[in-house]
């Protein structure tokens, strides 16, 4: 099933490993022919600021974690860091087959070159932003997840943010679910963020049938969580289903 106006803002596949790779090793990988269509690598920097109240001091630190490459039209981004490979497909998202094929076409030569044989974590994450053509909404009409607080009070929920992490019914899978109100880029619209991250915690081979099977399971899980979070009224915002 494919919605005409799927609310997918970003689709992400993330693969982590345990052994740290050097910046030189990472840079060499980005020189492979599979990355020819991407622009020159940019460093990916981590900034840290620590406040130490006891010493009345603030310290700053920055460290390069790896690189980022982007297609010229901005549609795809790859983060290659010491311990992870991340493929980001930005909106518009087309379909699973093309998304996963593109990610794996980059991943497989990357892990071969880096001599990664096993992933410590695999994550499939879809960030959805559901635009609703009303300036104010009752989120209960659009989401099945409800706030069951200690008091009823009056009116509707004006803002909320929620993050839940729990194991799935599917063996070996966990998920992190973020639901939040957010700003819509469209005037006179409200928006709901629905961020679904399905992931593994057990080691899994970096290539082969087991990995492919797990990715398929993760996709099914992600779709099921999405469908179970939204109401029929929300589905109607997606412009119907394409044949």
């Amino acid at each position: 099933m494919r919605y005409k106006k799927a609310p997918i803002l970003e689709a992400v596949l993330e693969f982590r490993w345990t052994s740290k790779k050097s910046l030189d090793e990472l840079k060499a990988v980005l020189g492979l022919s599979i990355f020819e269509g991407f622009q020159a690598p940019k460093p990916r920097i981590q900034f840290e600021t620590a406040f130490k109240p006891d010493e009345n001091a603030i310290s700053h630190n920055q460290r390069q974690l790896g690189f980022e490459v982007t297609l010229r039209d901005g549609s795809e981004i790859v983060f290659l860091e010491e311990q992870k490979f991340v493929f980001v497909q930005r909106a518009p998202y087309d379909r699973w087959e093309s998304f996963s094929e593109k990610a794996l076409a980059l991943l497989t030569p990357t892990v071969t070159a880096l001599d990664v044989t096993e992933f410590s974590r695999v994550g499939l994450r879809f960030v959805n932003r559901i635009d609703i053509p009303e300036p104010k909404i009752d989120t209960d009409e659009y989401l099945t997840v409800k706030f069951d607080g200690p008091r009823l009070d009056r009116g509707i929920i004006e803002e909320f943010q929620m993050r839940v992490v729990k194991p799935s019914d599917t063996e070996g899978l966990h998920y992190a679910l973020v639901l939040a109100t957010t700003a819509s880029p469209l005037p006179e619209h409200s928006a709901i963020l629905l961020d679904i991250d399905v992931f593994t915690r057990e080691p899994i081979p970096a290539t082969g049938e087991k990995l492919m099977h797990m990715l398929g399971e993760m996709r099914i899980e992600k779709n099921d969580i999405f469908q179970k979070c939204i109401t029929e009224k929300t589905r109607q915002l997606f412009g119907g289903v394409e044949e």
């Binding site: 901005g74 980001v88 518009p92 957010t182």
Partner: protein, 192 residues
């Protein structure tokens, strides 16, 4: 006591391409508030060494990407490619102003409100505007999306008797474009 300001994200508009970072960062901060004896603000961001033009192109592409689901299929990818060509380091005149955010919003609103099925050609006047153009035979339409958030229009339209009529319109709001153009049968430009 540690104070970490969590009031900005994700209430603000999400940046596509960076949602992966932004949401992680927001909830990372929330986690650090609880029981933190030492505050740490941690962030992962891309290169600080992008040129101003590269940064602005990224901003433009993000803005288009995040409304792509409300545009006809293929529009966002095509437009992002067009902007990449227009804002190429070799092609861009150093003296030209970068595309204004309000002009870009007016451009996107124009695409939405006209419900055009044809992707326009794009350009800029070097003073922050985005120029959208449609040309079908002798029928030409240029909409200039201005840094004021309004749009001005110039058109030439071949009538049934072969005469070519020309018209120009002072700046108006993007949502008014289709109505203003109604007497000229704008489907010739917008319905592909």
């Amino acid at each position: 006591m540690t104070y970490v300001d969590t009031g900005i994200l994700p209430r603000g508009t999400l940046e596509p391409g960076r949602a992966y970072d932004n949401i992680n960062h927001f909830f990372g901060q929330l986690g650090q508030v609880v029981g933190a004896s030492r505050g740490e603000a941690q962030d992962s961001r891309s290169s600080p060494d992008l040129t101003p033009l590269e940064k602005h192109l990224r901003f433009v592409q993000d803005a288009i990407s995040k409304v792509s689901m409300h545009l006809p299929r293929g529009f966002a990818v095509g437009l992002n490619r067009q902007f990449a060509n227009m804002m190429d380091e070799d092609a861009w005149e150093d003296d030209d102003d970068l595309v204004s955010p309000d002009a870009l919003t007016a451009f996107i609103d124009t695409l939405r409100h006209t419900r055009t099925k044809r992707r326009p050609g794009i350009g800029t006047n070097g003073r922050g505007s985005v120029t959208a153009s449609w040309s079908v035979g002798d029928n030409r339409l240029i909409i200039e999306c201005l840094p004021s958030g309004k749009v001005s229009m110039v058109l030439s339209r071949r009538l049934d008797d072969g005469e070519i009529e020309r018209a120009a319109f002072d700046p108006t709001r993007p949502e008014r474009v289709r109505d203003v153009l109604a007497p000229f049968n704008p489907e010739v430009w917008f319905d592909g």
